[in-house]
Amino acid sequence: MNWSQIGILYRRELRSALRERTIVVNGILIPIFMYPIMLWAMFTGLTFVQGINEGFVSRVAVQSPPPPAHAAVLDSLRARDDVEVSGAEGEDGDWLQLLADGELDAVVSFRSLPGDALPDNFSVDVHYDRAEERSRRAESRIRRIVSDYRTAWVTSEAESRSLTEADRTVFAVTGENVSTSEDIGQLLLGQMLSFFLVIMVALGCFVPSIDTTAGERERSTWETLMTVSASRTSIVTAKYLYVASLGIVAGLLNVAAMMVSMGAVVRPLLAGTDDAITFTIPWLAAPVMLAGAIALALFFSAAMMILAAFARSFKDGQAMITPVYWLVFIPILLGDQTDVNLSLGSALIPIGNVTMMIRDAIGGVFLWEWIAVTLLFTLSLVAVLLLLARQILKFEDFLLGAFDGSFWRFAKEKLFA
């Protein structure tokens, strides 16, 4: 293998790639701008929708009033700015029909419980439409109002009987969140970054792998390349390194852009709320992420190049690789299972293992033995794919584009015949 020639071939590939709009858009612009913009749009949109929902005044009808001793609960309901009680209690009206028609958001019935040990006790039935956001919100508001009233009533009754809160509660359950805002930030980052890193590495390899194989055939430059004095190994190595490096660049650019946008977009949006989050990543996670991105890029490049090399045109190549691209999403979902850490079993699941490894590392969990297994296993798969590519390159009809069919047909008819 001649590294000087590989360097010349690599630079030629890269120079061509940087002049191809699709590659620049998929490998550089999308990783940098698309997801941060998407994230910003998503949060802004959510906040906007939330604001609209909160601004809704809930239209509530009272079908039957509470017992007179608890008339105050109805006053509380009426006193709210965000609740509009339509119709007077006890009035006739087909309230449930109005609810079904969307004219009302909730219908409340205060129901007396005669014979109950507690005089004037009652229960509240709230009819609402779960399929409607503003109806769900109305139900939630009514529930809160009734709950607040109950707490106030119980407190007042207890005080009149000289019962302290401790007497009344007897025992209490309190929860205390021991995670810091940094922990929560790491959890979110771990899920999002691991997901997007894998997707972006795959996307970064996607177009270059087609362009350097099927594209080369389509442009009739394949035979030109076969006649230069570089060895086949040097040519294929340069192409492989070129595709893998664009995958790595796309993945890392995306991580950097996501980090910046999380800090610049998400944090200000959550500032001052109970959900305040600090986005930090342990320094040790950086080399783990880099190792994961490299291993994945080597894997995706090899797999995609093998498949695309059988295509005769860029379009064919896209059709051959797209199903593989979508398959990538299945193992990535493992990263969402935050209660499952990397283990021997999960370290042997391609792609999913790297996703979990990166997610754990961002969360500050470094299971070095499984990280090693993950990387070794992924690199073993890469080695298998490279051996397969080497076998395929021995067939002249493949080299000259005379074989008309996909990889799967080639494998059946030639490799394993």
């Binding site: 010349i8 030629r12 442009r219 009739s220 030109t224 006649t227 230069v228 004095s229 060895s231 080299l399």
Partner: protein, 287 residues
């Protein structure tokens, strides 16, 4: 006794057999033997499918022979493919240029990748740009160039590393008359520089004009080999087209004036001469 120059290309009993699903074993090249020398244009004349391109692809190490041997500048095509490719330049209608590189970048790339001394690359590129009149569009992307401009860049990239042996496989296919004539002119210049040129074509007039010796190839076999005068003398025919038909008829066992055709016998090949095929530099018949 004069010293016989050493051959730059030696081909001995070269064979290539393919397996075709419908036809079974196909002997695309069936025992070719010939030699080429410096300063010589050696023509391979044959119909489409005769085995010319397969032979040239084996010589350029794109394909591996299934039998026989060949060497270029003393390098065996089977065991020293990189050294062979370094010694030759390959030009054909199917060897396109990288559309997203500029003309200068293209020449620079092929100069470097073929092992031209690194310190002399810039001077070599400048020389080729000057020689082929590329300077006006040297920084233009190849995909924006006209076909004539592309042809010049293609020739420049073929000879970029100054190889002693050049292969031109049907180089005028698809070219208009002016560009085809330009190609013929360049081949003559290269011959004058002492290059060995293997020139494959099915266009008789080109072969007549350019080639010092002609090998007539049919069904993978070399039917005849010699200068145009030798072939005329051996067949009693004047026009190369008639010489060619004479040998093919002989090989096919067709007597007298019987027509060869409808060329299906030549594996659907087409032989053009006397300007019979539109758009090709088939020009005037040989006087």
């Amino acid at each position: 006794m004069t010293d016989q120059p050493r051959p730059t290309v030696s081909v001995s009993d070269l064979r290539k057999t393919f397996y075709d699903e419908s036809r079974g074993e196909v002997h695309a090249v069936d025992g070719l033997t010939f030699e080429c020398f410096p300063g010589e244009v050696f023509g391979l004349l044959g119909a489409n499918g005769a085995g010319k391109t397969t032979t040239l692809r084996m010589l350029s190490t794109v394909l591996k022979p299934t039998g026989g041997s060949a060497s270029v500048m003393g390098h065996d095509i089977a065991t020293e493919p990189e050294a062979v490719r370094k010694s030759l330049g390959f030009y054909s209608a199917s060897t396109a240029l990288y559309p997203r590189l500029t003309a200068r970048e293209t020449i620079d790339f092929f100069t470097r990748i073929n092992g031209f001394p690194r310190e002399a690359v810039d001077a070599r590129v400048a020389e080729l740009v000057e020689r082929f009149g590329i300077s006006e569009y040297e920084n233009g992307r190849v995909d924006k160039l006209s076909s004539g401009m592309k042809q010049k860049v293609s020739i420049a990239r073929t000879i970029a590393h100054d190889p002693p042996v050049l292969i031109f496989d049907e180089p005028t296919v698809g070219l208009d008359v002016m560009n085809a004539l330009e190609m013929v002119k360049v081949v003559r210049e290269l011959k004058a520089e002492g290059k060995t040129i293997l020139y494959s074509s099915h266009i008789m007039s080109e072969v007549e004009k350019l080639c010092d010796r002609i090998g007539i190839v049919h069904r993978g076999r070399l039917l005849a080999l010699g200068s145009l005068d030798d072939l005329r003398g051996a067949t009693g025919e004047h026009y190369l087209e008639d010489v060619f038909l004479h040998y093919v008829k002989e090989a096919e066992g067709i007597a007298g004036e019987a027509e060869i055709g409808p060329m299906g016998e030549l594996e659907e090949g087409v032989v053009t001469g006397r300007g019979t095929q539109a758009g090709e530099a088939g020009g005037a018949p040989h006087p």
